[in-house]
């Protein structure tokens, strides 16, 4: 039974991380590329870490809680790294694709 739960969680996590990476390749400009890794991967990693937590709690003696800490740190750092990347992209005036709306919002502030 636990094997089933672990496998399903691993599959869900793996597919979300895969979708995030596909987004990184498929999207046309830098700003849209950022969306895949910041979001699709947080849930993917959470599912993978839950699977790891269940696996180590059932196969080894004692309860494994380190994984909660990893997902907490991921939730804290993912938005901040995305923020730093998009901020530097704006200051380097990276091109966004032509149909981007509200471009004047970033231009008049720099």
């Amino acid at each position: 039974m636990t094997e089933w739960i672990i496998s399903i969680l691993l599959l869900i996590g793996g597919s979300f991380v895969l979708v995030g990476s596909i987004g990184l390749v498929k999207m046309p400009d830098f700003f849209m590329r950022l969306h895949g890794p910041t979001k699709a991967t947080t849930l993917g990693m959470a599912a993978l870490l839950t699977a790891a937590m269940i696996f180590f709690s059932t196969t080894q003696s004692g309860f494994s809680v380190k994984e909660i800490l990893i997902s907490l740190f991921l939730l804290l750092t993912a938005p901040i790294s995305a923020y730093m990347m998009i901020k530097s992209a704006i200051h380097h005036k990276l091109d966004s694709i032509d149909r981007t709306q509200g471009k004047d919002n970033i231009e008049d502030e720099l």
Binding site: G20, I90, G102
Partner: protein, 178 residues
Amino acid sequence: MRLETRFKWLPAPILSILLFFVWLLLNNSVSAGHIVLAVILAIVIPLATSPFRTKQPLIIKPGLAIRHLFLVLYDIITANVQVAILILGPTKKLTPGFIKVPLDLTHSMPITILASTVSLTPGTVSAEVLPWSESFIEGEGSEQRFLLIHVLDLKDEQALIDTIKQRYEAPLKEIFQC
């Protein structure tokens, strides 16, 4: 808004409690040696870093904060599914855009939390807080601030601004009472 108070030997009590539990979780044990080490770290690290830290507002309504946390966690799950659908769908149909959300929050801590939740929830990544000034860290200055957001698939700008303000900003204002 109430700012946290400072004691001489324990500059940040909440940070100390957090450090204590993080150390025990990292080591995955509650043996006596690790508890002693955790107490030492929980006292020394806040003391060493307190000159760099600015006073942060206190959480005045903890119950509401926990409810807001679960709402955000639920939104993160739906956001992941939505963004996955957008990524796998046709790229040509996406209409990206930059929007400015006017902020009512004043302090750096609530604004950071808001920016992070915006980054983790459907199709939006926060890009910049405008206008930047040093007084912003202390929560002073009265000019209107904006949160610049990049949206992956912008359909209705005003509706999105209203959602962010009502769903994420209003609870934060209530929690920190600012």
